[in-house]
Each structure stands twice: as structure tokens, then as C-alpha cells.
Symmetry: C2
Subunit: 219 residues, 2 copies
């Protein structure tokens, strides 16, 4: 099982949204909050390209780097409000106990992911793939492909668990089965349209229905 991080294991999407909003405002780029929300989880580079196109505001490569840095800072300041989603730790612990291989693959940077991951108990041997380790983040398939490779498992036998349409699209491109969670604030139908094989409320709901994925637990 290959997990996205923000909105999937951590209740952190709204903090990312408001961090981007604060940073874009300081750059004089007014963008409605829902439009930012719908882009969380995609590659930061693609996010900024879409911004340029939609707002008509030109951004240099230096501007884009600065925006990404400012966002990392603005998100860090909100990290105190971030918590694991209900059932996240229990789901990961169950998979570990049952010998089901799992990894984390996030469009975030190494630095941000490391700070976020401190909120969960994750054994150091668990692969954590960030955008610093691949050429392209989501919706490109690279993050999930690298995560499956790090586990030594075929991607086509993997589940990708994510809250955003970018996870589901990346799962399709990687030839994995996408499983959606509503805990990032997308609607069920958006995730289904993007290819989710099944959609759960949050990690707790996924854990309660783990049989539906054909994962057999042994006590």
C-alpha cells in the first residue's frame, strides 16, 4: 500500500491551503481559496504554472522558488495545528503487524515531509518518497513508481491511497489501483471520476473496511 501524506494520513490540507493563500497574497496574486484547495497535492511546479496561466501574472523561475520557500515557511508555522487523521496510526500499525508492505509518497519536499512525519510513528525502514527524489511529482506517476520500487514490489499489485484527484490520476498512470479518502475535502464523486476503485471517509473507515481491498488480517 502506497500512501499519500497530506489529507490522507495527516489532517493538514487546510493548513497547506491557507499557507499558499497567505504567500500568494504577499505576491499580489489574489486567488479564491477553493481554487487553491483543489490544487493541493499536485506538483508545486504544476501548481505555479496553472497560476500563471489563470491569473495572467508572469512568474520567473526565481519567483517560483521564492513562493515555494515562503509556502514551506508559512506551512511550518501552522504545523502546530496539524494532527494525524483518525485511524491513520492504527492502519499503519496493522499493516506492519500483518506484514503488508507499505510506503509513503508525497508531492511535498524532503524538509516539509520530515517535519510532518514526526506526527506519526513510522519505522525508519519504511520508504518515504518525496518530490526531491523524482523528476516529476503528481499527477505524474513517478512518486508511486519509486515507492513500489523501494518496497521491491510490482506497482501493478499495489494500492495507492490518496485524498486528491492528483493521487488518483497518478495511480492510473502508474497502473496501480487508487483508493480515495474524503479527509482532504474532495467530494466522493470527484475521486471516483478520477479513477478511485473505492472511496472511504478517512483512514479509520478504510481500516474498518480493509477486507474490501482483499487484505486478509490474521490475529
Amino acid at each position: 500500500m502506497l500512501f499519500d501524506l497530506d489529507g490522507t494520513l495527516l489532517d493538514s490540507v487546510y493548513q497547506h491551503v491557507l499557507a499558499w493563500r497567505e504567500v500568494l497574497e504577499t505576491f499580489g496574486i489574489p486567488l479564491s481559496i477553493w481554487r487553491i484547495h483543489r490544487r493541493i497535492g499536485m506538483s508545486g511546479g504544476l501548481f505555479l504554472r496553472a497560476l500563471v496561466r489563470e491569473t495572467g501574472r508572469a512568474l520567473t523561475a526565481a519567483d517560483a522558488d521564492r513562493l515555494r520557500d515562503l509556502h514551506a515557511g508559512a506551512y511550518s508555522r501552522r504545523l502546530g495545528e496539524v494532527k494525524p487523521l483518525p485511524g491513520a496510526q492504527q492502519l499503519l500499525d496493522m499493516l506492519t503487524a500483518q506484514g503488508v508492505p507499505w510506503a509513503i509518497a508525497t508531492s511535498g519536499s524532503d524538509a516539509t515531509a520530515r517535519r510532518s512525519l514526526a506526527l506519526l510513528r513510522v519505522d525508519p525502514h519504511v520508504p518515504v518518497i518525496t518530490r526531491d527524489q523524482v523528476a516529476y511529482a503528481k499527477p505524474n506517476p513517478d512518486l508511486f513508481l519509486a515507492a513500489a520500487e523501494a518496497l521491491g514490489k510490482p506497482i501493478a499489485d499495489s494500492f495507492v491511497v490518496g485524498d486528491s484527484v492528483w493521487d488518483q490520476l497518478a495511480a492510473q498512470r502508474a497502473h496501480a489501483l487508487g483508493v480515495g479518502v474524503l479527509s482532504g475535502g474532495y467530494g466522493r464523486e470527484e475521486l471516483e471520476s478520477a479513477g478511485a476503485y473505492r472511496v472511504y471517509d478517512d483512514p479509520q473507515d478504510l481500516l474498518n473496511h480493509i477486507d474490501e481491498l482483499g487484505i486478509r488480517t490474521h490475529s
Copy 2:
């Protein structure tokens, strides 16, 4: 045309979400942020009842009043970040100029609505119906029925414009036609499933496609 306020004319949903989250935390009620988001726009009383049921935490009537007061305060402190949605003022001005009757109907209180409405130019003769003026807020139809009555127009000839499923459900119960906007952060399909006749991105997009509602503008 009968307009919801938060998420429909104002970019204020995320501020309401975080205000509720802050207040619930101080009461020791941990609730994932997306679950709060999906309840914004419904009656505060129904919101708190759902909370009691889902979290198993008992709330007295005094607790509920206190929570509502605290939320009003927490939202007010975030009001400085709230802006009109793109096209909101232009849409309202166009309707006024064309002689199309319109009103505002919000599940919020008089006090909060008044503060929020200061962000828009709204002529004092425009009816503004709040939860203080009706027995039940959304998804009950009362707010929209009262708004149509204040305009002296039949509800069955009215459009209800709103960002949440609660607006769309209230529109159905009122026998009005619901028009959705995505600017509150719901997905298009959620609004369509709740009965939206048509869904636009935001007030600007609705204004650009006003012909689709059969509203004829004359220059």
C-alpha cells in the same frame, strides 16, 4: 434570485471552518477539518446535533449557545481575511441595473451577517434574511421562502444560488431551482446530486453565463 452569503458571494467558508475547529478544540471535541467543512451553511443547531451524535459527546443547550457565541467571535477575528468572491459585486449590480429582484438568505446570525455584508455594496432595500428571522435554517426551506416573500415573488419562480448541498436541498424543499457555485469548496457532483439545476465556478462564471438561466440582460 435568492443568494446564500458565505461561499456564494463571499470567500469566507474556510474562515468559518477554522473558526469552528478552533472552538471545538477548546471544548475538547476533536473533529477532522473536512467534516466541519461539509457542514458549513447548515443550521448551527443541526450542526451541533450531528456533532453530538458522531462524537458521542453530550452538549447541553447552554454548551450549544456558548459554542455558537465562541464561533461568532472566532469568525469575527478572521473577517479581515475575507473578501468578496470574483464577480460577486458585478453580478449583484447587474441584477439591480436590470431590475431583476434579488435577496440574501443565510444560515448565519444577524450580527455575523451584518459584519460580513459590509464587504459588499448592498442597497438597504435588499431583503437580507438570517436565521434570527425564521424558525429553522438550511436545509429547511424557511430562509428562502422568507426571502421570496420579502421580494413579493413566488418561490417557484425563483433561483436559489448557493455553494453547499444545504442550499440545494433547501431549494428543493422550497420548490425553487437551485444553482450551485464551486466557490465554497464542494465538488460539482455533490451539488448536482443535491439537485443543482446548473453549477458554475463562482459568481463571475455565473455572470458570464447568465443567459443559461434565461435571464435576459438589456443594454
